[in-house]
Subunit: 71 residues, 6 copies
Amino acid sequence: MSVSSINARNQFRGKVKALILGPVVSEVEIETPAGIVTSVITTRSVHDLGLEIGTDVLAFVKATEVSVAKL
Amino acid sequence: MSVSSINARNQFRGKVKALILGPVVSEVEIETPAGIVTSVITTRSVHDLGLEIGTDVLAFVKATEVSVAKL
Amino acid sequence: MSVSSINARNQFRGKVKALILGPVVSEVEIETPAGIVTSVITTRSVHDLGLEIGTDVLAFVKATEVSVAKL
Amino acid sequence: MSVSSINARNQFRGKVKALILGPVVSEVEIETPAGIVTSVITTRSVHDLGLEIGTDVLAFVKATEVSVAKL
Amino acid sequence: MSVSSINARNQFRGKVKALILGPVVSEVEIETPAGIVTSVITTRSVHDLGLEIGTDVLAFVKATEVSVAKL
Amino acid sequence: MSVSSINARNQFRGKVKALILGPVVSEVEIETPAGIVTSVITTRSVHDLGLEIGTDVLAFVKATEVSVAKL
C-alpha cells in the first residue's frame, strides 16, 4: 500500500549504509544529507521492506519523540 | 546537572528558530545543518530550559523511535 | 513525497471520525475495522496533511511502542 | 499488582499467537479482532508475565505514539 | 477491564499531586517514593480515569523509552 | 559534547547495576534511590558511553512516554 504523506514533521531521505541483523530487532544505519541516522526496527520489517545496502529510504520521527537539551 | 554524553544515536545541534507555546505542551522548531527539526515538549520544560529564539540546543532521538519507509 | 511501504508492523486503515484541535497538538479519532484508533499529532501536521472528517488515513505504530498487559 | 484501568486510548484484547525470543528483547504476536498486533518487549517481561502461546493479553498504545499517513 | 500485570519494567506507585488540563493533552504530576514523576496524557484519558488530586495511580514506562546519559 | 540540561522531566540518577548485552540492543539495569530503572538502548551506545557495572548515569524519560493506570 502506497501512502502520499506522513504526519511526522522530521523526515530524512537517505540510503541504507549498514545493517546489523539480530534475532528480533535490527539496526539500520541510513546516510542522509543530515549525517547518519540510526533506526532500530524489527528484523521482520527489514525483510518485509527488502532493505539492503543502498536501498533508498525515508527515516522519520514524530515530534513528540524528539528530546531537547541545552548546550 | 551537566551530562557528558547521551545514549541517543541521533543528535542534531542547532538553534531555536520558532516556539509555539501551548498551555501544556509547546512546539520547538530547531534549525540544524540537517534542516528543521521539530520537537514537542512540555511548556514547563521550555521555561525550565530557558528556551528562546536563538538558544543553542541539541535535539536528539533514540534509535528505537525512528521509523523507516521505503521510497 | 509518496512512500511505498512503512516498517511499522501495526497498521490500521480508516477514516477520520473526529478532530479536537489544540494550539500545539490535536487529537485525531480514526474509525477502523479494528475499532476507534486515537492519535495525537501536531496541529501543523493536521493542516499539512489536510485532515478533515472523512479523510482516508493509515494509523500506524512501531512494535517497540506497543505495551502488553496480562488479563 | 492489579490495575483497574489504563490511560492508553488504544487497547486491543487478544491471545498470544507467536513468540520470537531474543537475548534482550522478544517479539510478541497477538491475535485480536482487529488483526495481528505486534509488540517488542524485553525478554524478561515475557518471562515475568508468563506469556505463552494462547495467553490472554491486552495490547495497548498511547495516542502520542500513533502516527498518521494520508492514503 | 482489570489487568493483573503490565510488561513495563519501570513502575512507580503514587498519588496525583497536580493536574494541568489543556484542550487536548494534560500534564499529570505524580508524587512517588522516587520523587515527582510527570506524565502527559490526553485530557480525555484524565476524565475517563477520573483523575483528581489524591487519586492513587501507577506511572509506568517501557524500557525502550528510557534514555541513558553519562554523568 | 557536554550538555547542561535536558528537557526530560523525569530524571533518575544512579549506577549501572547489570548489563545484558545483545547483538543489537542491550538491557541496562540502573540502581537509583527510586529503585531499579531498566533501559533498552543499542549495544553500540553501551560501548560508546563506556557503560560498565558501577558507572554513574542519568536515566531519563520524556513525559509523553509515561503511561498512567488507576489502581
